[in-house]
Point group: C2
């Protein structure tokens, strides 16, 4: 499948590498490709510069947001939640029309320190905001309830967790579910329409506390029944 | 241990019966014991009248909120979230001083229909509201992330889930953890202080959607790692 990944951070890189490894065509979208490639220092999170990663991941293209999205059948929103609507607007509604948007972002608000709060919750969600802003796109919220390494390689844990999908379009959810199974996810739970993204985005506060309590982000939610 | 259960609904009855089965002394607290015993019809949720249940659960006492709490070492808040502060106020700060309050309630707001929203979240929680209202009590939030049957008998599922504890007082958390283990809970995760109750209360929206998606409330969150 032709895919575009919006976002050059850890989540974007991890999903891009996994899709390429599985034989998909991958273009990473960024605001300014030249600027992205010219950075030589790690960012504030300690993530190595993109050019170093790209040198080890040949075959993955880099382009502006609009160009990346225009050529893709499936667009992955791997930006941070506070930037997501702006980035998708730069990609452009015409590049997103009819496309599946796999939305991995979470509406984390770091403005009042740690732990972050949520800038939208309970009666609305980031997934719904994106679907409303791009009504001709088909938004599927998924993968936002685990760390990047587990998104791409759920078999890192000896016991696999569950992954949720939320969205209004059944075909789009089928497409995403197929990719999730390629990644190795075995327990994919369809929660319903995009309003159910409220529930998975609201998992982040306990996820962050579990990270603190367990001392590692390498854990997952498994729904036992 | 001498325990009081505030609330005569399904959660209160289930916890009361389990504690009694394990040999603890149990008094259920209610607003007006005479009125509670005089009801002969199921309530709006279809729960059978209390007197019928009490007839099959002899050895469990019924008393007013204050009397029940005054005689107990551990008080279980099994009221609905919207009523919790009012009920605990009726029990009285002097009856709660120094006591462990095991808070199972969730801040569900049904005023705008289904699914319910949360009347407190993200930057505060019901557990914190209770701790602030009764600073001399030792509040431990737990068990609020699963249905009543699983709270009392986690081995109903072939694969057991996890249960979380949040609270400011280590001894109180140890007391609650001991009871949880008596109930059969094996994976008890201490998330930290009472502010971590925000995370577990915010699990309710996805819990409610999972109930819809799975067609049963007999499921649980297991943290795999």
């Amino acid at each position: 499948m032709k895919t575009a990944i919006l976002g050059t951070g850890t989540v974007g890189r991890t999903i891009a590498a996994r899709l390429a490894e599985l034989g998909h065509t991958v273009t990473i979208g960024t605001r300014d490709p030249e600027a992205t490639l010219s950075r030589t220092e790690p960012d504030a999170m300690g993530t190595p510069p993109f050019a170093a990663w790209a040198a080890e991941n040949t075959g993955i293209a880099l382009a502006g947001f609009a160009e990346a999205a225009a050529g893709a059948e499936l667009v992955v929103n791997a930006t941070n939640g506070a930037a997501s609507l702006d980035v998708l607007t730069q990609a452009g509604a015409e590049s997103l029309d009819g496309k599946v948007i796999l939305d991995i972002a979470n509406p984390l608000d770091f403005s009042t320190g740690m732990p972050p709060t949520l800038f939208v919750k309970d009666t609305d969600s980031l997934g719904e905001q994106i679907q409303r802003a791009f009504p001709a796109a088909r938004v599927v919220k998924s993968l936002n309830t685990m760390n990047a390494a587990l998104m791409a390689h759920p078999d890192r844990l000896t016991e696999a967790g569950s992954v949720f999908v939320s969205g209004n379009d059944s075909d789009a959810k089928d497409t995403v579910t197929g990719l999730l199974k390629e990644f190795g996810h075995q327990d994919v739970i369809d929660l319903g329409d995009i309003t159910t993204a409220r529930g998975t985005e609201m998992l982040l506060p306990v996820w962050l506390r579990l990270w603190g309590a367990l001392g590692t982000p390498d854990f997952n939610f498994k729904i036992v029944r």
